[in-house]
Structure formats: C-alpha cells, structure tokens
Symmetry: none
Subunit: 206 residues, 4 copies
DNA sequence: CATGAATGAGGTTTCATTCAT
DNA sequence: GATGAATGAAACCTCATTCAT
C-alpha cells in the first residue's frame, strides 16, 4: 500500500491511539502491553512501530489526545450555554464533563486518573495534563467573570480563586465518579451550591 | 508460643510496606519492581515473600495502610478543632490533609493517585480507597452537622450533599497539588468559600 | 529488446552495491540493515529487492566486487612496475594495496575483515575471498619468478612458498592497519626486508 | 542456591563465556543470538543476565578472554624455547599460535577474525584486540633482540621493525589458515625465511 | 528460617521481506 | 515498474517468583 495520503497516515495514527485508549481505559498504562494494543488495533507490530517510536510515545499521544479532548469539552460546555444560572451552569459542567466527553463517563474518569499517575513519571504527560487543567481553569475564569458581570453571582469573590476551587471540585468529582458507582452528580452540584458563602457567614456571625 | 513473636512479624511487615511505600511514591506501582522493594527494605527476596504472597498482596497492603492513614488523618483534623469557624475549618482540612498526612504533601498526593489508578483493576484496592472516602465523608458529614447545629453555617443545605461536595473539592485539591507546583491551598479555600450560595443567588435573582 | 537496457540494470545494481559498501565499511555486515542500504542508495525497498533477492545476495555481491577489486589492484601494482628492486617492489605492494585499492585505506581494511568474517558462514563469500587471495598469490608468484630470473633476488627460495609468505605478510598488514592508527607501512616493509635469509643464517652458523 | 562462593560466581561466568565462545566461533558475533548462548550454556536467560548486563558485555568478555589467551600463548611460545634457531623459532611460533592456542586451530583463527570485525564498532573490543597485538609484538621484539644478541640473526636490522613485520606475517597466517583448508604452516615459515635480506640484495646488486 | 541464584514466561522492539496500489 | 506500508518471526531483555542450600 504505497503512495499513501497524509490523510491515511493520520487515520492510521488515530486508529492506533484509539486502540491504545481502549486498552488503557480497561487495564491502565502499564498493564496494557504493546501486544494488547497491536491486537486491539488490528494491525501488526511493525505497523504500530511505524507510527510510534515506542510505548512511551504512544502513551504520550493518548495522554495528549485525551487532554486536548478534555479542554475542548470544557470549552464547549462553558461556551454553549451563556445564559445559564449558577447552579444550572454547575450541573451542566459536571454532566458535560462526564458524559459529553466520552460515550462512557467511566472511561473518561479512568483515563484521567491513569494520566495523572503517569504524569508523575513522564514530564511530557505532566505537561499535557497540566495544559488541560490550565485551559479548563481559564474557561471557568471567563465563566465566573461573565456571571459576575451579569450579576448572577456576587462580584466580591476573586474570580481566579473561585475558578480554581471550581476546578478542584470538578477534578474531585471525576475521582469520585471513578471510585463509586452511580455518583449523584446533581446532588454534588447542589452540595457545592449549598456551601456557605462569606456573606452568609458574616450574617451568621461566623 | 510463636517463634519470633507476633510483634516481630508485624514489624517486619511494616518495614516492607514502608519500603514499598517509598518506592511507589517515587515510581508508581508498576514501575516499582519487587527487586526495588527488596533493595529498599534491606531484606532478601525470600524474606519479602515470607511476609507477602506476592506483589499484589503487597500493593494491597500499601493501599490499605495509606487509606487507613488518610481516614485517620481526616478524623484527627476534623475532631481536634471543634470550635473553628467555617473558613478556618476549611483551611485546616486542606493543610491537614496535605501536610499532616505525610511528611511531604507531594508523597501523599502521588500515592493517592496511584491507588486510584490501581483501584480500577484490583477490587481490594478499590474497596480500601472507597472505604477511606466513605470514612472521610462521614467525618465531614459530622462536621457539617455540627457547624449547622452551632449556627456557624446555615441549616438549609443537605448535610450529605454538602459533605460529598466538600470531599470532591478536597480530592480535587490533591490532584491539583500533584500536577502543579506550589498550589495555593489557602487561596483554594478562599475560592471555595467565595462560591455563591443559594441564598445569595436567590437574592441576586439568579 | 529489454526495457530500460541491460546497461541501466547494471548501473542500478552498482548503485546499490556501492551504497551497501559504504554502509558495511561503516557498520559491518550485520549491523547494516537493509533499510540502511535502502536509504543510502536513495532507492525504495522494492527497487532494491528487484535487483537482489535478499540481503545474502547483496552481501555476496559486495564481497565479490571487493574481491575482484583487490585482485585487480594487486595485478596492477605488480604489473605496472616491472623493473623495481625487491624493496621498492615490497613498498609499492603495500602502499598500492592500502591506498590504490580505495580512497581510504581504512575502508579497504575494514571491509576485508568483514568479508573474512562472513566467509566463515557463507561459502560463496568464502570462495570470493579465497579467489582474491589465490589470484593475488599468483601475481606475486610471477613477480617472485621475474625477480629471480632477472637476478634481483636469489633463486634458491621456492617461489610458491615465498609468494605465500608474502601474501600472509600483506594480509597481516591489512589487519594491523585496521587495528592501529597510523601504521608505518614503510617501516613494515623494511622490517620484512631485514628478516634474515637462509644464506645469512648459514653464514651466521644458525 | 544462595550464599554462593566467589569461586562459584567466577565459574558460572566462565561457563557462560565458554558457551558464547563456542557459539561465536561457529556463527559469529551477530549471528549468535542470546538464546543460542543460553541454550549452549545450559542456563536460563535470567541466569545469563545476572552475570552479564547484555550482549555487548558478553561479547566484550569473550573478546577480552581470547585476547588475553592469545597474548599468553604468544608469551609461552616465545619464552619456552630460548635456544631455537631462527627458522625453528618461526615454525614454533606458527604452530604454537595455531594449535597450542586452542584445541582447534580453526576456532582460534575464526574467533580472531570475528574480534577484528567487532573491533571496528566497539572500542572496548578494539582495545582488547590491540592490547593482544602490542603484547605479542613486545614478546617478538624480545625474541629478535635475543636472537641478535646471540648472533643467530644479524644485528643490522631494526628489532622494532622486524618484530612488527613478523607480527604482520603471523596475523596474515591466521587469516590464511582461516580461509584455506590445510595451510602449510611449515611451508609458510620456509617462505618467510627464504625472503631475500638486504645483505643478499646488495650482493646481488639489487 | 533466611538467602539470593535461578527460572522462564512474557515484554518491547527490530528488520528482512512482501505485495497492494 | 516503482513504491513504501505492512507483516510477523525472532531478537534482546526484565522481573515476579521459587527453592536448594
């Protein structure tokens, strides 16, 4: 199959990344052997090594793809619903992250945790993961500012800190949804919204 | 009467678990070889296999130890400061989790992420991780109820949902502190406290 | 009438052999991959396999080419200077072998050693190498006879044995020049000429 | 089999080196797979890799052992027969090198050529090979001086050049004996001794 | 009981060769 | 004819585990 289009090459790469993605969601980075990926992809060992120099590069490609996907999903969720109220926005963020991101919310969460684990060892994966987080935070920063500007939430809070706290909460939801079956995402959103705010605390004399 | 005393046995087990802990924090579960643990522990291969049937059992022991540690640290943090205000309690939870748990906050976060990754594959590890989360949530539930009872936060919110949201936030902080250098934990706490509450939102007409 | 002419075929073959030659001088037979040869030749894999059935045939072609080259260089050296004295002839043989054979003496010596190594395994390569040696010895035999006939060296020695000894000496020079930087070829020639001869030994009472 | 003596470790190493030696003589360095060595040694893969970090180290060990062996054999040959005449010494050197060195002269020559080939790529092997040559030359230098001092050969020749020429001759004999069946070593020695010397050449008017 | 040398299945990767385009 | 992507056997090496001493 010579004289192959750039298109074909990209498709093949994606085919391998997808196969690796499936394996890794199922078994984790280091429990997935190259043979697993080779079998899952339907290609031969040689073919896989034509597109990736080794397992490390393949892991990085999967991590980067997932990170980009995460950031894009976050952007989409945040931008597509400009007029939501605060708790609607929260709920949308959560359900969007968990289900829009991937057909199966489990897959997303599982892969995310794998990537974080790998980030401890591979700086390239760490950078990809961090990039996704930073992009996500920026989006949420915009959202918070927008909500503040339109009076839907008070302007007293620091948008940077709020958006980072929000990010932590979302990441934590990912972890929880991975460890527990049937996490009540809506309940989580309500729980977050029900947290006391400074204004209230002052009023309560806290 | 057992030979070298039960005490000795437990001490040896702990010695091995500690060695494994250090290796895993450094390199992750699957990049840590049994030889690494053997070297780090200062024992022989045979000795390690006398106390653990294999790598799986050792991983489980490390995960369980860490989970218990996590739950205990959480209990301590929550119970030791019964009269704190809401934002003091938040800040205390965060700093307590991150530094009391372990000499190095990095180590704690890294091991946690490793355990979550392993939980995807090993039900025993999953149960340990889940147990720690459930225990932590219970503690926070108590805290929330206590704060509500003493009027330090409003009683309108569902304590279960609030405590779970709080847990998500804390888990997310662990993830963030692992991926970013010098996460501003206090800023995160402020950010969370600055989130709008339902009362405010109603007032704002959201 | 053949398609692109026999001439073209031969030129292509030579192009590939030359590429392989360069690779092998650089990296040896078995450290040179077909891909190396393919890249060095500027052709495609398919093209190389159109001209050679496989690596073995290519190796044989390189070995045969080099062997023929060696024999021709020897012939040229021996025949071009019919009236040299013994030590002039010796020096001419050495320098001719080492520099006329190839632009770089290192390349010649390196390839020769590779061929000898391969001759242990491949009878075709062995035959090529042996053929070159036999041809070289025949040339030297003629030289020795010629020198004896013209009285430039004594007729007492057996021309066959002398020429074979001479060949051994030359082969050894190749090996030495490969292992040592800056071998003093002239010194070697002097050394050989300074070896005692039977006549002297008798005279010395040996 | 724990608590093993140093002796045992050295023996095991030697066992592996010997197995590798046999494989390499038979098939060359790069046609010998680690599996071949493993099978030939009667050990397991893990055992071999306990004693050698990889194929390269094993190749080096074989090359070094052979080089030391070569130098020792040369020393022995030269020193054991202090009162030989020139042509007796020559014949003794040749037959000693070829048969004393190894039970099979073929093996010695074949391995030598392999080492020279490998020396082109591995500096450690090159150093071992060069070391053996330098040691050999020193021995022959002593021999030449001794022969000159006792009047068995003329003092006119430069001992350094003579010994180096002698070395070249011997190396060439190794090559020839590898490429040709039944090389007449005695004939070669006669041939060398029959080469014209300067004295004769002058007399002949060359 | 402790030791650590030995095992060998299985992991990652390479590379000579083929064949659809 | 030419191309170069694809193949897959086989190479090198690791590592969890065992067991003779």
């Amino acid at each position: 199959m010579p004289r192959v289009s750039e298109e074909h090459r990209v498709a093949r790469r994606q085919q391998i990344i997808d196969a690796a993605h499936r394996c890794i969601v199922e078994n984790g980075f280091h429990q997935t052997s190259m043979q697993d990926v080779i079998n899952e992809s339907g290609l031969s060992a040689g073919a896989v090594y034509r597109y990736f120099t080794g397992k490390e590069e393949l892991i990085r490609a999967v991590a980067e793809k997932a990170s980009v996907h995460f950031a894009e999903a976050m952007a989409k969720v945040v931008s597509e619903h400009p007029s939501l109220s605060w708790d609607q926005a929260l709920a949308r963020l959560l359900s969007g992250l968990m289900s829009d991101l991937d057909e199966s919310r489990a897959g997303t969460a599982r892969l995310a945790v794998q990537i974080w684990g790998e980030a401890q060892r591979d700086p390239v994966v760490a950078e990809a993961a961090l990039g996704a987080l930073v992009a996500a935070q920026r989006r949420m920063h915009s959202l918070v500012v927008q909500l503040q500007d339109t009076g839907r939430i008070p302007k007293s809070g620091d948008a940077g800190q709020i958006s980072q706290a929000l990010l932590s909460f979302l990441l934590g939801c990912i972890v929880q949804s991975m460890l527990m079956e049937d996490v009540d995402l809506e309940g989580l959103a309500h729980g977050l919204a029900a947290l006391p705010s400074p204004v209230e605390l002052e009023r309560a004399g806290g």
